[in-house]
Amino acid sequence: MDLELDIAFIMIAPVLGGALLSAALLIWWERRLLGFWQDRLGPNRVGPFGLLQIVADVVKLFTKHDWVPPFSDRVVFTLAPTAIAAGMLMGFAVVPFGPGLAVSDMNIGVLFFLAMTSIAVYGVLLGGLASNNKYSLLGGLRSGAQMVTYEVFMGLSIMGVVLLTGSFNLSEIVRAQEDVWFVFPQVLGFIVFLIAGLAETHRLPFDLPEAEHELAAGFHTEYSSMKFGLIMVGEYLGVILTSAMVVTLFFGGWLGPGFLPPIIWFSLKTAFFVCGFILLRAAIPRPRYDQLMSLGWKILLPITLVNLLATGAIALLRAGA
C-alpha cells in the first residue's frame, strides 16, 4: 500500500508537467499542421521551426490587460476557467502510460474519467452564465445541452469494452487487448466514442458553443489575457486526454512490438490521434446545432444500443460455452 502511494506521488509531477507541456506544444503544433494541410507555412519565425512561438504567445497573453467585465458575476467569472483546466488535468490521473505507470490505478478508472470530463462542463456553463452577455449565455446553453447529450453516448460506447474486459480498471482493459485491440470487435463503439469525444471537447467541427460566425466567441467572448489562455489550455488538455483514452480503450494502450518501450508506444499512438483531431478540424465544416443534436439522438444512440446488445449477447454466449 505504501509503495503504491509512493509511486502515485512520484507520478503526479511528471504527469501534470507532461500534460501541460504537451498542451502548450499543441498550440504551436496545431497551427503548423493546419498550415501544412491548408498549403501555407503557419508560424515558423520564432526559434527553430517556430517552436518558440509558444513562448511568444504566453508572454503576449500575460502582458495583456486582464479585464473582468463590471457587469459580470466576478467570482464565478474568475473561477470558471480553472474548472475546465482542473477537470481535464484530474482526468489524467487514471491514464495508464505504461504497465504500472499511472498516478492512480483505481478499479473505477473509466468512471473516474467520465466524472472528470463532466466536471469540466461546468467551466464552460458557468463561464457563459457569469459573463452576463447574450452571446456567452447562448454559447454556455449550447455547450450544456451538447455535452450532456454526448456524455450519454460516450459512456454507453465504452460499456462494450468494459463488457469484454469485465472491469472498469484501465490497466486491465489494456491487458485484455494483448491478443486483439478492441477497435476490431468494438468498431461501432470506437466510432461513437471518437465523435462523442470530439463533441465533449467542443473542438471543430463540433465547436458550436463558441461558433465564431454566429456567437462572437461563444462562452469565452468576455475572457481575456491568461483567463482566456487557461480556457485554451483546458481545450488542448481535453484533446490529449480524449486521444489518450481512445488509445487506452480501443488501440491497446502501451502495448506494441518490443523494440520500443511501452510509454513511447503510448505517446506515439496518442500523438497520432491528436493529429487526427487537428485534421478533422481542417477537413470538416461545422454542422448546424439541430443537426448535431439529431445526429446524437437519432443515429449515435441506436448504434450504441445495438452495439451493446450484440456485445452482451456474444459475452453471454462465450460465458455459456
Binding site: V121, Y122, L126
Partner: protein
C-alpha cells in the same frame, strides 16, 4: 488519528458548509454551485467509506448530469438582481423556525444512533461488480420500477413537446 479519518472529517465539513451556503444564498446560480460542491464532498465520503462505485455515480449522475440541467434552467430563467432581492425578502428569520425544529429532531435522532454504534462503515470496499449483481438480483424490481418511471417521464415530455411544436407550426402557417 489516521489519514482517512482526517480526510473524512474534512470532506464532511466541506459538505456541511456547502449545504448550508446552498440554502442561504439568494443568487440561484451561486446556490447551485454550492450544491455541486456539496455533492462532490459526499462523493469523497462515499469513496472513503469503501463505495467507489457509488462515489463515481454521485459525480457522473448527480454532479455531472442532473445539476447541469438545474443550471440550464437557471440560465433560461434569466434571474437577475431583482430575483435575488425577492429571494432575500422571502427568506425571513421566522421562516427558519419550522424547518429548524424538524431537522433538529432528526439531528438528535442521528446523534443518538451514532453514539450507540461506533462503526459506521463495514470497512470492505464494494466493487462495481458486486453492486451490479445486487442491482440485477435481489433489487431487480426496484430497477424495473425506476425504468418504468423514467419511460413515463420520457413519454410525457415528448407529448408536451409535440403539442407545443404543433401549436408553433400552426402559428407560423
Amino acid at each position: 488519528m489516521s489519514l482517512e479519518i482526517v480526510l473524512f472529517y474534512l470532506a464532511a465539513a466541506v459538505a456541511l458548509a456547502a449545504t448550508g451556503l446552498t440554502v442561504t444564498r439568494t443568487n440561484a446560480s451561486h446556490a447551485l454551485i454550492y450544491l455541486i460542491i456539496s455533492l462532490l464532498a459526499v462523493a469523497v465520503i462515499f469513496y472513503l467509506l469503501g463505495a467507489p462505485f457509488a462515489a463515481a455515480l454521485e459525480v457522473v449522475i448527480y454532479a455531472g448530469a442532473i445539476m447541469v440541467f438545474f443550471l440550464f434552467v437557471v440560465m433560461m430563467l434569466n434571474l437577475g438582481r431583482d430575483a435575488a432581492a425577492q429571494e432575500r425578502r422571502w427568506l425571513l428569520p421566522r421562516m427558519w423556525i419550522g424547518p429548524g425544529v424538524l431537522t433538529g429532531v432528526l439531528l438528535l435522532e442521528m446523534i443518538y444512533l451514532i453514539a450507540g454504534s461506533p462503526a459506521m462503515s463495514s470497512g470492505t470496499p464494494v466493487s462495481p461488480k458486486a453492486v451490479g449483481i445486487e442491482l440485477f438480483g435481489p433489487y431487480l424490481l426496484a430497477v424495473e420500477l425506476a425504468a418504468i418511471l423514467l419511460l413515463a417521464a420520457l413519454v410525457g415530455a415528448l407529448h408536451l413537446g409535440r403539442r407545443y411544436m404543433r401549436a408553433r407550426r400552426e402559428e407560423i402557417a
